[in-house]
Symmetry: C2
Subunit: 173 residues, 2 copies
Amino acid sequence: MAQQHEAGTGAPTLDQARRQLSRYGLSADPQAVLVAARLMAAGSRLGQAGEAHFARFGLSTGRYRLLAELEDHGGEKPPSQLASALGVSRATVTGLVDGLERDGLVARRPSTEDGRGNVVVLTPRGAQRLRDMAPEHFQRMQAMVGGLSVEERTLFLDLLARLVEGMSALTDD
Amino acid sequence: MAQQHEAGTGAPTLDQARRQLSRYGLSADPQAVLVAARLMAAGSRLGQAGEAHFARFGLSTGRYRLLAELEDHGGEKPPSQLASALGVSRATVTGLVDGLERDGLVARRPSTEDGRGNVVVLTPRGAQRLRDMAPEHFQRMQAMVGGLSVEERTLFLDLLARLVEGMSALTDD
DNA sequence: CACCTATAGTTAGCCTCCTAATCACCTGGA
DNA sequence: TCCAGGTGATTAGGAGGCTAACTATAGGTG
């Protein structure tokens, strides 16, 4: 009856979902609620694991993503485009660039086209950092999903995409 | 060939994964890397959507999870047990309880068994907050996963659990 | 030409999370 | 008995995210 509690991971159980719903006499499907809760728990767990992973290379998830985005676009891009590509606010990009600039991985240059604008450029040192970490980084990424077959991964991508669409149910007015 | 860029969401594409790997001549499977990257993007997107959701009720994800954990355990629990149940550090629990206590949703009582210890108790106001938000909260949670059939949700739970196991590949030494 | 609004970037303040250091108290062994 | 080491909780300091407010420039319109 009382299943294991997954102490430490925070992974919720079906029993917990059932208890929560029955407490208020709600008719929602406990399994649906469980999927949502598990996905949230997995997301936060992955967030932490990702930070630990990137910390090996002196980076954070956000900083890595910014560097990778730059590399994928010829080594330079204005902050506002970085913000929309990464899905974060411009203020966050300012903070990330501050840190990366301090470490010499990136530099700011005034825009030649727009007097208000900047361009963030990947320095040789930034490119080198990406080069150095690539083998281990991609090996670990691949290992993470190694428990799934190719078919399962394809299926998972489809299911995940539909759940991502569903996330608007949390934010819609 | 060039697929849509999902501008704004930060969702990576298979082409991006391929470019990254080929840039350094690595032999990792682009699809595997894509799954890992998409999962990370989905996790961070869900994190933000969750914060927006809980903000409706004057809470955050962390605060809600703490309240729910208390409710699920008879309304009281010491901070260190909350920390391990929620999968966060004790320092984080201190901060969450500080905020919840300020709002009157929770209170600290000295432990009767351990002179060092505390017990965090759910106040009537805290229980009321949970009661008030329950209908909308669970309705939205259910709506989020509504795009999947029951069978698909079961399958997803299995795949997700295996990916969560695989996350140790990021943190292992 | 002058103004008005929109946009680029930064700043300030808040929240969550972390680690490391500190303090208080518990507990077991010499 | 008393002391050493372990454990509970807080504090201090850092990072990344957010919103809102501010500055400066761009651009369209009267």
